[in-house]
Amino acid sequence: MTVFPGDTVFPGDTVLDGEHLHKRYGRLHVLDDVGFTAADGEAIGIVGPNGAGKTTLLNVLAGSVTPDSGTVRLDGADVTRSGPQIRCRRGVGRAHQIPRPFGGMTVLENVLVGATYGAGLRHREAHRHSIEVLRRCELLDLANRRADTLGLLHRKRLEMARAVATRPRVLLLDEIGAGLTDAEAAELVATIRELNAGGVTVVWIEHIVHVLLQVVNRLICMDAGRVIADGEPSAVLSDAVVVDAYLGKARS
């Protein structure tokens, strides 16, 4: 099954949701009463100007940042206080904005960490799964290379591959397309679509909106720590408030 943008996806059960999320850094209110719901199988894009709180929201959902108040639930169970390692093993995969490869390990070993810990696979099962992930992310030829010798494109692929290796049900992607050429981004889009079609819920922060729109069927726009629009992508993009947030009020 291939899902095309704009297709109506039957909304499944809620997989991951957050309620009344607040996070302050000093006087900066990075998350200001944010609510978020992701249903099974959805592909959600998050856009918004720099400093809108997008990455912090992703951090709170992944468990690497604890919110000052509010609740995060995974499959309806409260996980607000559980760390990223627990959430990962329960199905939340995460790729960072700036790739964070394990530089002293090979590409294959990087992926094996996700397969053995995140997905809990053992021995041959873990090996087979890792090879499959490397193939899907086009990293097979680099499998035995040390990760600190990779260039940007391959670092991005590895960041994605490791997260996929954990067999996530929800995949949180942070600007995974930034810095890539159109052709490179197209490969990425194909991979993410394939995962989504396979049932993985995708939550994707991206500045390159036309790339994002090839995958997502729902768009959230954030500004100054709040969600200012949430819904069908074209509707969100034509929303006056969103246009203001992005382009400033100088147009009038």
């Binding site: 964070r100 294959l108 090879i131 035995n144």
Partner: protein, 331 residues
């Protein structure tokens, strides 16, 4: 559709030969006390102790990223623990075993404290712990205070018997600890630890349980350090707090691991052999010897950061992973 088939190899011909050679070497070494004079036995015992120290520090810093400058805390604790138990009529060799176990317990107690720290502060913190323990021992007169103390109770054995037993015990500890590190690295824990070393947050986001892995490794290194300390005492029969708790142990471990190859299984073995030779040849030059050690370790850190073993394209033990193409296959 035909596609290329891939598989992951853990061992290679080199690693199969390497493992067999290491096991054979261990068996041969076990017979040494029967054939060689006392000095050889005693020298080899101290070589084993150096290997234990290098392997443990490499596991801790090279694989776990826990760059401790204070493992001498456990060396001293193991040695003084042995003295403490022997003074209470525990048979000396049993005391050695118990003191090593007690060092592991000490590490488990310290872990929640020192593992809160990372990087530089962790290094300094571990050193502070070692200095604190040294001061506590100096204050305790029943342990000889600042002047040192001898291990009693070993005079029930004839000297060559005693040397042989100490030798075998050191070899047994060495085999045990090498085996433990091998099992750790062979399984998923090896990859998990290296992931923590390279990026703790990213490791957690891939499902790695950071805390139990780090604490487990710290306890293992504590046990190894304690065993080494107890064996140093059994080998030399006399210790004093300034030297057994001295930071020079860390300098030695740094030298062995950096020169041999940090983060490789084989590097510290090579490093310990080299260090043993260097010490044999140059130890009489005192201050200049230490300066030379420091300069060499520094030069390696700068110019050959992965040590001599990185020049050898072979892995002696099957702890890595290698993706191999099987040739055309059908899916």
């Amino acid at each position: 559709m035909t596609a290329l088939a891939y598989r992951i190899d853990r061992s290679s011909r080199a690693s199969r030969i390497g493992s067999s050679v290491l096991i054979g070497l261990g068996l041969i070494l076990a017979t040494v006390p029967q054939f060689f004079v006392a000095t050889v036995v005693q020298q080899l015992t101290s070589l084993f102790i150096f290997v234990i120290l290098a392997v443990m520090w490499n596991a801790l810093a090279g694989y776990g990223g826990l760059v401790s400058v204070g493992q001498q805390a456990f060396i001293g604790f193991g040695a003084y623990g042995t003295v403490f138990l022997a003074q209470r009529d525990v048979p000396p060799y049993l005391a050695v075993l118990l003191a090593a176990g007690a060092s592991a317990v000490l590490a488990a107690v310290l872990a929640p404290l020192v593992l809160r720290l990372r990087g530089g502060p962790f290094a300094v913190g571990t050193w502070v712990v070692a200095e604190t323990l040294a001061l506590l021992v100096v204050l305790d007169h029943s342990l000889g205070g600042g002047t040192g103390v001898s291990l009693r109770g070993l005079n029930v054995f004839r000297p060559d018997e005693r040397r042989a037993y100490t030798y075998w015990l050191a070899l047994a500890f060495l085999v045990l600890l090498l085996g433990a590190v091998f099992v750790l690295l062979r399984g998923r824990t090896g990859a998990g630890l290296q992931a923590i070393r390279d990026d703790q947050e990213a490791a957690a986001s891939l499902g790695v349980r950071v805390w139990p892995l780090k604490a487990g490794l710290y306890v293992l290194a504590g046990f190894g350090g304690g065993a080494a300390g107890a064996l140093i005492l059994a080998n030399t029969l006399f210790i004093e707090p300034r030297s057994i708790f001295g930071v020079q142990w860390t300098a030695y471990m740094l030298f062995m691991v950096l020169v041999g190859g940090i983060g490789t299984f084989e590097g510290p073995l090579l490093g310990a052999l080299l260090f043993f030779g260097v010490q044999y040849l140059f130890a009489d030059y005192d201050a200049w010897y230490l300066i030379g050690l420091g300069l060499t370790a520094g030069a390696f850190a700068l110019f050959l950061p992965r040590g001599l073993w990185s020049l050898v394209p072979v892995r002696l033990l099957p702890v890595g992973y290698h993706l191999r193409r099987d040739g055309p296959g059908v899916f």
